[in-house]
Symmetry: C2
Subunit: 404 residues, 2 copies
């Protein structure tokens, strides 16, 4: 028999490591003849665009390079399957492609949108009496998937953000004049990544002095007051803010900075919250102010990825295949934390229905009362996820990426 | 006798390494009793804010940490000395402070503005018959200082930019739809840093497909045509652009994106060229477009600094002190390249007058005829500067910074 694997949703530093996990495990399993990679997520199966992965991942060195290469080697998609009742044609195309290539297991690496695909496909195969198994592998830098302790990709993003914000703290502190620096961090609805900057306290940083998350409502009036208070204490005030915080246009008319565009899943492309807050500070307080958007570097800076994250991403990919081989379907693999110190996790399964289209928010108990910072208790959750460095292979002074 | 050292201008990853070079050399030199650090550049000498560096840099480990810490440990300034004829008071304050602390050598680490200070101060000391020597140590990520082959700080910035743009290339290539990604890179008047992205070709990248530098005039009409042509060849077009390119408001009325603010040296704070071009592409071509500003991370991302850069920065600092001890004054230390392969440089001296307030532009001979890319010949200039990685000391999964 053969198996297929695909990658979906936004890039991370760890999604190729999960692919390596599936591929290696498939290679080791005698009854699996070929591991096919589907180009651009589920679209590759719908359009019969598959590649036999052993023709592109040829050596152990290829696997090592793929582990340190960000983004998705097989491309990605944001395709959402229609309901079977409304449109069965695409399901029949998928069945036809999988049958043609003798594929009995499909592993889908993605976020909560991808788990919707895992649910729909596994339901479909059960409904028609097919034995094809579908298993999801979580991934997202947003860390917003339910049930799982955390998601592959998040640790590397958090490590980059922590290192960069620490460097920005140094950069912001050189001049003798007062300044405010706002760092905009990814997270549409869940503030995990912005919240993770609280880890800098473990290395003796006082900053970020303020952290704003979409989990709490945002008041421009309180914000200005918060900044004023911090300015009384610090020459260079550093603020971490989730891109997803909402400025009430009735309170402060700056909505024109927002893009109204939506993707096919109905997500708005948010951007520019940092810039909004910069203009507010410039208008309301008389000081030097700068906003910095960490942008896509947050999800693709594999040159400073977390070894824990990459190793876990590979392992959860391997275990997904194991779960399918044991007869499971419609499940997502997940991490259960056994202990913070020493850090220990188990890899288990959860019904993909409990994850599909759902979000997990940063816990309210870890946000301070004023809603402008994260409590020290959150540190022990975050810290294990960024531990360790991958020895990055370099050529000409630059990281080497795997290319197919 | 004692000596003083100060840091000035915008932060880099290498300016603390030059400080370490001065400090270590001072410590080794028997006739030097103390190395004083001046807080916030020359302002610390004017205001008599000095610290004895051995009270803060206590161990070899401190020195190692300082070498891997970005920005300026002593703070910085953008203070410009008045002409002596117009205002001699500040010169007398400087003399009084240096005399009080028995300081006979002043080492100023900075850019072309700082070299103006080196010229004015050394002229002043000669005029009044003082034996105090003033030597400049170059630093700027912009690489725009005359005479010297390159500037400390540039190699680390170029290494971060190369790694990040390569990661952005991976990130931009995941979806099946056409896209344009614009990366805005620092460089007000000189395009060295944006030009350095040509190094990615050495690692097999075709991108950036287009590189725009302030050394050539920019035409919006040609730009749109360039992008259209690249789109015919590449699904994901990647563009590197210097922040300093000028969009003619008569050709395209987008000047409102620019900030008109000026600093005390008359520099305009440029920002938003990437955003301008993003809006132009969105309006003129029907495709997904994103702009990314690498922002201050370019000058402070010491977690991926160039070992060559850091080592050279330390060495040129040490040699500056040597030059002063040999009786030189009013000079800036500079690199002379002996050979590209194998890479070899000498450290020499140049009259600071040849550098002060002057800029060195990216050579026209290395820009292609169309003015939208960099020629392969530039690679051999850039590549040696980003070689080698500093083993960064980590704690809790994050780099450790030196703090005084």
């Amino acid at each position: 028999m053969n198996i297929a694997v695909a990658q979906s949703g936004g890039p991370t530093c760890a999604i190729n490591a999960s692919l390596v996990g599936v591929f290696k495990q498939g290679f080791k399993t005698k009854k699996i003849d070929a591991v096919f990679g589907s180009i651009n997520g589920i679209e590759g199966i719908i359009n019969d665009e598959l590649i036999d992965l052993k023709t592109v991942i040829r050596t152990n060195e290829d696997m090592e390079l793929l582990r340190q290469t960000p983004s998705t080697m097989l491309g990605s998609c944001r395709y959402k399957l229609p309901d079977y009742e409304k449109d069965s044609v695409v399901y029949e195309k998928i069945l036809s492609c999988l049958t043609k290539h003798r594929i009995e297991i499909f592993i889908y690496i993605g976020g909560n949108d991808s788990m919707d695909t895992v649910v729909k496909l596994s339901d479909y195969f059960e409904r028609i009496g097919s034995d094809i198994k579908v298993i999801g592998v979580p991934k997202t830098i947003d860390n917003d998937l339910p049930v799982t302790d955390h998601t592959p990709g998040f640790g590397s993003a958090a490590k980059y953000v922590a290192a960069s914000v620490q460097e920005i703290i140094r950069d912001s502190s050189v001049y003798s004049i007062d300044s405010v620096t706002i760092v905009e961090i990814m997270g549409r609805h869940a503030g995990w990544l912005a919240a993770s900057t609280c880890m800098l306290k473990a290395n003796g940083e006082e900053a970020p002095h303020l952290i704003y998350l979409p989990e709490r409502s945002f008041s421009v009036k309180n914000f200005i007051e918060d900044v004023r208070k911090e300015q009384a204490k610090h020459k260079a005030v550093i603020i971490a803010v989730s891109e997803g915080i909402k400025i009430d246009p009735e309170e402060y008319p700056l909505e024109s900075f927002r893009s109204g565009a939506e993707d096919v899943f109905g997500h708005k492309y948010l951007s520019g919250v940092g810039k909004c807050l910069e203009r507010i500070i410039a208008a309301e307080l008389n000081c030097k102010v700068r906003s910095i958007e960490l942008n896509v570097m947050q999800r693709c800076s594999s040159h400073i990825c977390s070894k824990t994250d990459i190793d876990e991403a590979e392992e959860i990919g391997a275990m997904a295949l194991g779960a399918a081989l044991s007869g499971n379907t419609g499940k997502m693999m997940c991490f259960k934390r056994v202990s913070d110190v020493p850090y220990a996790i188990n890899i288990e399964m959860v019904d993909a229905r409990e994850v599909a289209n759902k979000e997990k928010f940063f816990p309210d108990k870890w946000i301070n009362k004023a809603g402008n910072n994260v409590l020290p208790e959150a540190e022990k959750y975050f810290l294990p996820l960024i531990q360790g460095e991958v020895k990055i292979k370099m050529k000409n002074g630059m990281p080497v990426h795997f290319k197919r």
